[in-house]
């Protein structure tokens, strides 16, 4: 039933030379976050990881979880020149994966920045940290996830065939990695104490995807972490790429 996680996922660099940022996308896939990557790449060489199952990237049958995906990116970090460290940046699902990587590979990471990360459940069983995206209509999910729902990818009624296919594939991928436990795994919370690099949590000021106070509580579980806020909902990377870029620039230096 299972096969080892040996593949190195598709990683696309925005410039020549060794990338100094590894960016891990959120659950809409990498295509819709391109403006953010372009903004970030004005000051950095950004390597963009493409998680299996998103966009044009085939499902990897060996990857069943955010942790499995994290292992895939360890192979990328192993292939960097000796001594080189990257700044690791991830949004939502990508933040979940990045946190896993940081618990294991601090020696390859200079700084960690997670924007609206998921992956840790902090509330009792009958309370929610996240809205249930599988139990709400698409419109409801967009309204709760974006300060301006008009900026939600794959929304509207006049979608092209490619958009419909990509939306279905990305939603299926989220089921693959986040169905149960829902958008978290119990191992990450137990390992957060291992993160030993400077960490920035970036929260959207209008994020209604997570419960109020979630990122305040989450950031307290990482030893050298601070929290900042930018305009936007749960995906400020999509809604406010410049704002996120500015927050990262001042943190990463």
């Amino acid at each position: 039933m299972t096969s080892p996680v040996t593949s190195r996922y598709h990683v696309e660099a925005t410039g020549p030379g060794v990338a100094n940022v590894l960016y891990l996308h959120a659950e809409h896939g990498p295509r819709v976050e391109r403006p953010f990557v372009d903004a970030l790449s004005r000051t950095s060489v950004v390597a963009v990881g493409h998680h299996p199952g998103f966009g044009a990237h085939a499902v990897d049958q060996s990857a069943h979880s955010a942790l499995d995906i994290a292992f895939g990116y360890l192979s990328y970090l192993d292939e960097l020149p000796p001594g080189v460290k990257v700044d690791l940046v991830g949004s939502s699902l990508g933040g979940w994966i990045a946190l896993h990587i940081a618990t294991m590979y601090g020696h390859r990471i200079r700084k960690l920045a997670v924007i609206g990360p998921i992956g840790v459940k902090l509330t009792p069983p009958s309370e929610r940290d996240f809205i249930d995206v599988f139990a709400l209509s698409g419109q409801e999910v967009d309204q709760l996830s974006f300060a301006d729902p008009a900026k939600a990818p794959f929304s509207g009624t006049d979608l092209r065939d490619d958009d419909i296919l990509e939306r279905a594939a990305t939603r299926e991928a989220l089921v693959r990695y986040g169905w149960e436990p829902y958008l978290h795994d119990t191992s990450l919370r137990r390992r957060l104490h291992r993160i030993n690099v400077p960490t920035l949590f970036v929260a959207g000021s209008s994020d209604r995807f997570v419960r109020e106070g979630y990122y305040r509580d989450f950031a307290q579980l990482v030893s050298d972490a601070r929290l900042c806020t930018v305009d936007g909902g749960h995906y400020p990377v999509i809604e406010n790429p410049g704002g996120v870029r500015d927050a990262l620039t001042s943190f990463l230096g």
Partner: protein, 386 residues
């Protein structure tokens, strides 16, 4: 032709449809009156007993978090039927294997029901409808593989008689050793279901009975044709026995055509109450992305319950989704359907649905059992041991 009386045993006394989003998964159970519900259960089990006494077989199913079907555990309902009926074969169609956490419990439950009934059980294994995904918290990823792995595990549990074995796959058991074992040896007949040609071959290769639901003429013909092709290739025969094929339709019989059509209109609640929110009806991963695109581009379904919603009763009869009328009418409709689809040996007769009352249900069953069923026996091509 074997007939299986089938009802989902609904609780149809609901608030106005405009007041809720979905009859499945989210409708608050505040709308369920326990006293009225208790009376309904008594009445429905009476009807199963009457169908047994009339010489009909029985079929039951399971759904979750919905008033359309009061049986969230097919094991409980079939266990009661096993004890209160005498002669009917009891088809459970079916156990939604990928949606259930514990296949061994299903193997045990079905062995118990088979034994209590003195071997009258046909055990259905189904994938489960897409709107069952959320109630079961069942991931859609690998759902077909889980269906078949659970099937393999249950078959092994039923047929292993020399002490424990282990199973460490999707499910993990280190000590499988069920008691009792099934009454029927080596195991109860297996039924499965599908509504797609593409998933038919695997069912046919096992030679299992396949059940299809209200597909109408064209779609059912294609499904049964796909089954026959693989069955005949697999088993090296020139004809597929009718008893491998089952079809479910609404059936209403009365002394006059108009009275029967009026009964059918009452039963159309089964189709017309099918308001389900899209995100519940189409969970991601249940079908491939290409199928989502097809649904988005092709509009409403052309067969199956989705196509029947809101249609006139006459349309259902014309399209082979219902057989309704006098006994003569029903025999003629079924004979035509039988010929059009190339034959089938099991009718899953939805003889009660919606608010169709007890007296009308029983009258329809009596007319069917006495004046329709005997005249259908000549339809069968051939039989193999089920």
């Amino acid at each position: 032709m074997e007939t299986y009386f089938f009802s989902e045993n609904p609780y149809p006394y609901l608030p106005a449809e405009e007041t809720y989003d979905s009859i499945r998964a989210t409708l608050p159970n505040r709308a369920f009156d326990p006293v009225l519900g208790a009376k309904l259960y008594q009445r429905y089990f009476d009807e199963w007993q009457i169908a047994d006494e009339l010489g009909l077989n029985l079929m039951t199913n399971e759904h979750h978090q919905t008033p359309t079907c009061l049986h969230p555990s097919i094991a409980i309902s079939s266990a009661i039927l096993a004890r209160i009926t005498k002669n009917a074969r009891i088809t459970v169609l079916g156990n939604p294997l990928p949606m259930r956490r514990d296949p061994i419990r299903i193997a045990e439950e079905m062995a118990v029901v088979d034994t209590i009934s003195f071997g009258r059980l046909n055990v259905g294994f189904v994938k489960g409808q897409p709107y069952e995904v959320l109630p079961a918290n069942a991931s859609t990823i690998g759902i077909s593989e889980r269906l078949w792995e659970a099937h393999d595990l249950i078959l092994k549990a039923w047929t292993s008689h020399d002490g424990p074995f282990n199973w460490e796959g999707t499910w993990h058991y280190r000590n499988v050793n069920i008691w009792p074992r099934p009454y029927q040896q080596p195991h109860p007949p297996v039924w499965m279901t599908t509504s797609t040609v593409s998933s038919m071959a695997r069912i046919a290769r096992h030679g299992y009975v396949v059940g299809t639901f209200v597909g109408g003429f064209e779609h059912t013909k294609a499904l049964f044709g796909a089954y026959r092709k693989t069955y005949q290739e697999t088993f090296g025969v020139s004809e597929t026995p009718d008893d491998r094929l089952a079809y479910a339709a609404l059936v209403a019989v009365a002394d006059s055509t108009e009275a029967a059509m009026e009964r059918l209109r009452t039963m159309q609640w089964y189709f017309d109450s099918g308001k389900v929110a899209r995100h519940i009806a189409q969970p991601p991963g249940y079908v491939p992305p290409q199928a989502f695109l097809s649904v988005a581009r092709s509009g409403p379904p052309k067969s199956g319950p989705g196509a029947a919603r809101g249609k006139p009763a006459e349309w259902l009869v014309e399209n082979g989704m219902a057989f309704a009328g006098t006994p003569d009418d029903v025999v003629a409709q079924m004979t035509r359907f039988y010929a059009e689809v190339g034959g089938f040996g099991n009718l899953m007769m939805m003889g009660q649905a919606g608010t169709l009352g007890h007296e009308e249900t029983v009258n329809s069953l009596e007319l069917y059992a006495r004046e329709v069923a005997p005249r259908l026996s000549e339809l069968n091509h051939s039989l193999v041991k089920a």
